[in-house]
């Protein structure tokens, strides 16, 4: 058909949102649509998001069906994507997908951007899921990854995980996440406390925010120090952690910020004493891997990072962060205390980490090189 799109970007993620995944989608989809003169963006909707938008050459369609069961929802999304792609089947040259639910209906050339593996992440939120079901989801991932013309991953750990799941090693491309440079001297946010540690991100169990709260409780003698949690999810989902903070007796010293617009987060990061990435030693971080945008953005903001000692954080920070054994509140508290005692050393650490950060424009160039390669074959 004459007005068919040449490219499509499909994600079982809400877009836009306050989550790091939305930042990623924005940059990756922009590269795809710039290259093909527009395209079709299929994502999750909900809330106030419109079901349909046309922005220049880009058509945005959002799945708005309310399906309570996640597996049913994923399958309904797959069917919906199939319907969205069908009118463009004669013109589509490339589909860029982020998960197996999006990849299933694609029969043409596909770039699979693997940021996570549902067979590893799902049991965290749905602990009763059976091993046999996870095996089916693993098969599904294997099927989609082996069909992809290229697989884009943000870290070595995920690279290994997708190769284990059937992706051809020569088709896997490592493109780390990025963060745009933060200008010096960003004004302190009006709601910011005097001296504060900061955690930015979602609140799933694997993020280790509970470990951070327990560590913060051990810093009770530092009465001028606050902890800011910039949660990318709603207050509802933070309720268990707020209750934990109350029980630990630090409820009044923790400042909660919810779903801040992404452009406001940089000022919170830049004015913090330290940024904490307390990731746990869980299969999600050790077997699946990640490339935490919170760490990249802290480095770009020039804020020293204290992180759990995991391959994924070593990969991002190199030697330029303070590493602590994961899941050890006492160790984390001690590392924070040491860096607060030696601010010059902490600033030096941050200054050395800053040049490691890729700007999103660099990330986009690397993605463009992958598209070049895919188009040649």
């Amino acid at each position: 058909m004459s007005d068919g799109h040449r490219a499509a970007y499909v994600a079982f993620d809400r877009f836009p949102s306050a989550k790091g995944s939305a930042v990623h989608i924005r940059h990756m989809a922009a590269e795809l649509f710039d290259r093909y003169g527009g395209g079709l963006l299929c994502v999750l909707g909900g809330g106030e998001l419109p079901a349909y938008q046309r922005e220049g050459g880009v058509e945005i369609v959002r799945f708005t069906g309310v399906v309570p069961n996640l597996l049913d929802r994923a399958e309904a999304f797959t069917r919906w994507v199939a319907e969205q792609l069908a009118p463009h089947r004669d013109t589509l040259e490339l589909c860029h997908v982020r998960d197996p639910w999006s990849a299933l209906p694609v029969t043409g050339r596909m770039v699979y951007e693997a940021n996570g593996l549902p067979s590893i992440e799902l049991p965290y939120a749905w602990p009763l899921v059976a091993p046999a079901t996870l095996a089916k989801i693993r098969d599904l991932e294997r099927d989609c990854l082996s069909r992809a013309a290229a697989v884009v991953v943000p870290s070595y750990v995920i690279e290994k995980a997708v190769i284990d799941r059937g992706a051809a090693p020569d088709r896997v491309h490592l493109i780390p996440n990025g963060a745009d440079p933060v200008p010096a001297g960003l004004p302190r946010p009006p709601a910011a406390p005097g001296r504060y540690l900061i955690y930015v991100g979602a609140l799933q169990a694997w993020q280790g925010v509970d470990v951070l709260l327990r560590a913060f409780a051990r810093l009770a003698d530092l009465t001028d120090l606050a902890l800011v949690v910039c949660s990318s999810v709603s207050p509802n989902r933070a309720r268990p952690l707020r209750r934990l903070a109350e029980r630990l007796g630090v409820g009044d010293r923790v400042v909660w910020q919810y779903t801040l617009p992404h452009e406001e987060v940089a000022a919170w990061l830049a004015n913090a004493e330290l940024s904490i990435a307390p990731l746990t030693a869980s299969p999600r971080n050790l077997d699946q891997g990640c490339s935490p945008i919170k760490v990249w953005e802290s480095m770009a903001a020039g804020t020293p990072v204290v992180a759990s000692d995991l391959p994924v954080t070593r990969e991002v920070l190199g030697e330029h962060g303070r590493f602590v054994p994961p899941d050890r509140p006492a160790e984390l508290a001690r590392a924070i205390r040491v860096l607060l005692e030696y601010p010059e050393a902490a600033q030096e650490l941050a200054a050395r980490a800053r040049p490691r950060v890729l700007a999103w424009s660099d990330v986009r160039h690397r993605l463009a090189a992958v598209y070049d390669q895919v188009e040649l074959h």
């Binding site: 309570p68 639910w101 996570g116 549902p118 749905w126």
Partner: protein, 112 residues
Amino acid sequence: MTPCTVTTGFFTLGKCGVMAVAGCAACGRALCANHVTPGGLCPECAAARNQVGHPAAASAFRRRAHRQRTSQAYQDYGWYTSFDSYDRAPFDPGMGADQDYLDDGPGALVDS
């Protein structure tokens, strides 16, 4: 005795096994009297030539057409395992570790 090697059955597939009386003119497989099509071909070869007069050739033709159609159309999800009620049950609302984790406002979706 040479048995007929045409695949038969509906729920459970197996070989026909009746005594063969001829060989397929195209692929040479052994055929019983019931499975020789008017052109002297086995049902599969007849279906490949769009000769679907024989009942077995007609079903072979339909199977072939279905595979061809579903492998080309976007409606084909390309994955032949499906989730059953045992797989689905743990994903029902309320089965999560914490209901708060799932609740993102009325009518909202939990994303990946």
